[in-house]
């Protein structure tokens, strides 16, 4: 017995890790689907010993699956999240789009598993990467002595900004010793041999949309 599972954003950093971890923890999977945008149709990804060919998000019939893990950025989640949830499967969404929606639980299983009862759109949100590791540490301490205030500084790796972030660090690091570092694209300043005090280049009230991480 197992579930029919779809991973949306199958070719991304997080999508690939989702396949690895579903396999590592022996999640009961009967049939796995790799879903991606049109430009990645036919791209091969691996799930354990299986090679999966990416299927088109716009053409896929989500009523045929039981659960969907989604990590394709906020814009894709905004367009597709509720439609997929309405078609039947539960959607676990890694983007920031649904996180503050009162009808969508935001869950870290070690911290607030009982929030699943608040699921009203067939969607559960996965928190920001920096929040997830923080609350796992805060929760047992808060239970014991009630936390009043937290001051946190993060040191975030480039993989949180997707494959382009990793490529930018790699190309700049190599470039520094040859022709000079190529100019920043994903980040706002050179990331090689540097630190940047805004992990995302988007300000809280700025209108420009950025990725879910």
């Amino acid at each position: 017995m197992g579930y029919r599972v779809a991973v949306v954003g199958a070719t991304g950093n997080v999508g690939r890790e989702m396949f690895n971890i579903l396999e590592e923890v022996n999640f009961p999977v009967e049939k796995m689907h790799a879903i991606a945008s049109r430009k990645s149709i036919g791209v091969e990804v691996s799930f354990g010993a299986q090679i999966l060919k990416c299927e088109d998000l716009a053409q896929f019939d989500f009523s045929k699956v039981d659960i969907v893990l989604m990590s394709a950025g906020g814009a894709i989640s905004k367009e597709w999240g509720e439609k997929i949830g309405a078609a039947g499967p539960i959607v676990i969404d890694n983007s920031s789009h649904f996180r503050m929606d009162p009808d969508v639980p935001l869950i870290v299983p070690e911290v607030n598993p009982d929030a699943v009862k608040d699921m009203r759109k067939n969607i559960i949100a996965n928190p920001n990467c920096s929040t997830a590791q923080l609350v796992v540490v805060l929760k047992p301490l808060h239970d014991e002595a009630k936390i009043k205030r937290v001051v946190v500084s993060t040191y975030q790796s480039v993989s949180g900004a997707g494959k382009e972030g990793m490529d930018e660090l790699w190309e700049q690091t190599k470039g520094v010793f040859v022709l000079g570092a190529p100019p920043p694209k994903k980040f706002t300043k050179q990331i090689a041999f540097n630190v940047i005090p805004t992990s995302t280049p988007s300000w809280r009230t700025a209108s420009r949309r950025k990725s879910g991480r």
Binding site: I21, S130, P140, E144, V152, T154, V195, W203
Partner: protein, 140 residues
């Protein structure tokens, strides 16, 4: 309206309140560093009631999803490079903050693609499975 915080910093404040407790006050500075995989955080915590560093170490040793690596010697702590590919959130350098009444400072690292993203999503799927909440569609 702009208050100088980035969206990432604002997400940490709002998400912590939603997941854990709306009464917790949190301020964040989110920095990008030239590391491929693994996020680190330096965390200052102020408690309402006393909790010393030994209590904190003891509580975190027993906590789900946490591993304490905290030897007070060179290399007796975790770094992002070592946590890549791993499941737990590692906590190191637990110490008393002498500048406030009930304060603790600690260092924490985790694989951002795992606990920070894909692992947490899969753990949510496991939670739904254990609670029998995943309805199976009728086979085509």
């Amino acid at each position: 309206m702009e208050d100088g915080f980035t969206k990432e910093e604002w997400k940490m404040m709002m998400e912590t309140k939603k997941i854990l407790d709306p009464s917790i006050k949190l301020v964040a500075t989110c920095v990008r560093v030239p590391v491929m995989v693994g996020h680190a955080e330096a965390i200052n915590i102020e408690f309402a009631t006393p909790l010393d560093e030994d209590d904190v170490r003891e509580i975190l040793r027993d906590a789900d999803g946490v591993q304490v690596v905290d030897k007070r010697e060179d290399g007796g702590y975790m770094t992002p490079k070592e946590c890549a590919g791993e499941f737990p959130v590692y906590v190191s350098r637990i110490r008393t903050d002498p500048t406030v009444e009930n304060g603790i400072v600690l260092w924490c690292v985790a694989d951002n693609l795992r606990k920070g993203a894909a692992l947490n999503a899969v753990q949510i799927a496991q939670l739904l499975h254990e609670r029998g909440l995943i309805k199976q569609a009728i086979p085509a």
